[in-house]
């Protein structure tokens, strides 16, 4: 009988973890125009693990939302942005949903 609650708890935890898709935020130098952003977005959307992309010129920020249970290694992200012609200063993984990040950026918060 103890087995069933454990299975249910495990399933709940699994569902919760997969529902919270990870976001990768990158600080990028050289982001000054829409064409820069367009090129970067095009490169990042080629990754099968990419669910969505945000580029903020104001915050020099590029954010990638990952599909559930998928990931893109930092080295591949850095290579993609370098191959797009830009310099990555920092890569940070967060649990912030992209919609929330988009809202924060609209309000002028980084």
């Amino acid at each position: 009988m103890k087995f069933l609650p454990r299975v249910l708890l495990s399933l709940l935890l699994l569902a919760s973890a997969s529902a919270q898709a990870a976001t990768i935020e990158m600080q990028v130098n050289g982001l000054v125009c829409a064409f820069c952003a367009q090129g970067i977005e095009k490169q990042l959307r080629k990754f099968p693990a990419t669910a969505d992309v945000i580029v903020s010129l104001e915050h020099k920020l590029v954010a990638v939302a990952l599909k559930d249970g998928q990931d893109i290694p930092d080295t591949e992200l850095r290579r993609a942005l370098t191959n797009a012609g830009y310099t990555v200063k920092a890569v940070q993984r967060t649990e912030t949903p992209l919609a929330e990040l988009r809202q924060r950026l609209k309000q002028g918060k980084s």
Partner: protein, 217 residues
């Protein structure tokens, strides 16, 4: 006008970093289509594909018509553009491009079709508010040599964001060699771009239309 441009350049240099004109390479795995109408003396159309961020290949067609004589040239060319260096700064980007190509030329001061050579370079510096670029472009053959030097200086009234409309106000100075136009042709321009579409239009000191459209995809 040239003095005005130099004055504005000085003011922009004091104000902070500056920036660009249309780049011959937009982004990796991207196409660039461009058409320019240069006050009746120069008309040009180009198509480039960039397999990488630092080079693109393609071709173009340029028509040069002298406003001093009846001299005219029609040149088709294939060209390779190369990004010699890019500086990615905290709030700015600077680029140095070079290009070269070969093509064919016809004209009304020589007979037949001649081999034409094309070479040029562009340096630009751009922030989200200030922009400067200098471009030199040479078209030559055994019968002619035409170089077009273009300086553009621009200010954005506001910082645009990706997805929004960017607006730039520019002054342009242009010099032609080879008897196409005497002196410096100056122009004031308004540039708008959103996403991959870019249009600019203005008027020269001779009261003629100067316009360009470019699409990146």
């Amino acid at each position: 006008m040239f003095r005005w441009s130099i004055g504005l350049a000085g003011a922009l240099a004091l104000a902070g970093p500056m920036s660009v004109m249309a780049k011959p390479i937009a982004f990796a795995d991207g196409y660039t289509v461009m058409a320019e109408y240069g006050a009746g003396t120069m008309k040009e159309a180009q198509l480039f594909y960039a397999p990488r961020y630092d080079f693109s290949v393609g071709g173009g067609h340029v028509e040069l018509d002298s406003d001093q004589t009846a001299k005219s040239r029609r040149i088709n060319y294939a060209r390779l553009n190369y990004l010699v260096h890019r500086w990615n700064l905290d709030d700015a980007q600077a680029n140095l491009f070079a290009w070269g190509g070969l093509g064919s030329a016809t004209g009304n001061t020589f007979s037949g079709t001649l081999l034409a050579e094309n070479a040029g370079a562009q340096a630009d510096y751009e922030t989200r508010r200030v922009y400067a670029s200098f471009k030199t472009d040479l078209q030559r053959s055994s019968a002619f040599s035409h170089r077009i030097d273009t300086l553009q200086l621009g200010l954005a009234p506001y910082k645009h964001e990706y997805g929004g409309v960017a607006t730039w106000l520019l002054v342009q100075g242009r010099q032609y060699t080879g008897g196409i136009h005497r002196g410096t042709e100056s122009a004031v321009l308004v540039r708008l771009f959103k996403g991959g579409a870019w249009i600019e239009a203005g008027v020269t000191n001779g009261g003629k239309l100067q316009a360009m459209a470019m699409f990146n995809f």
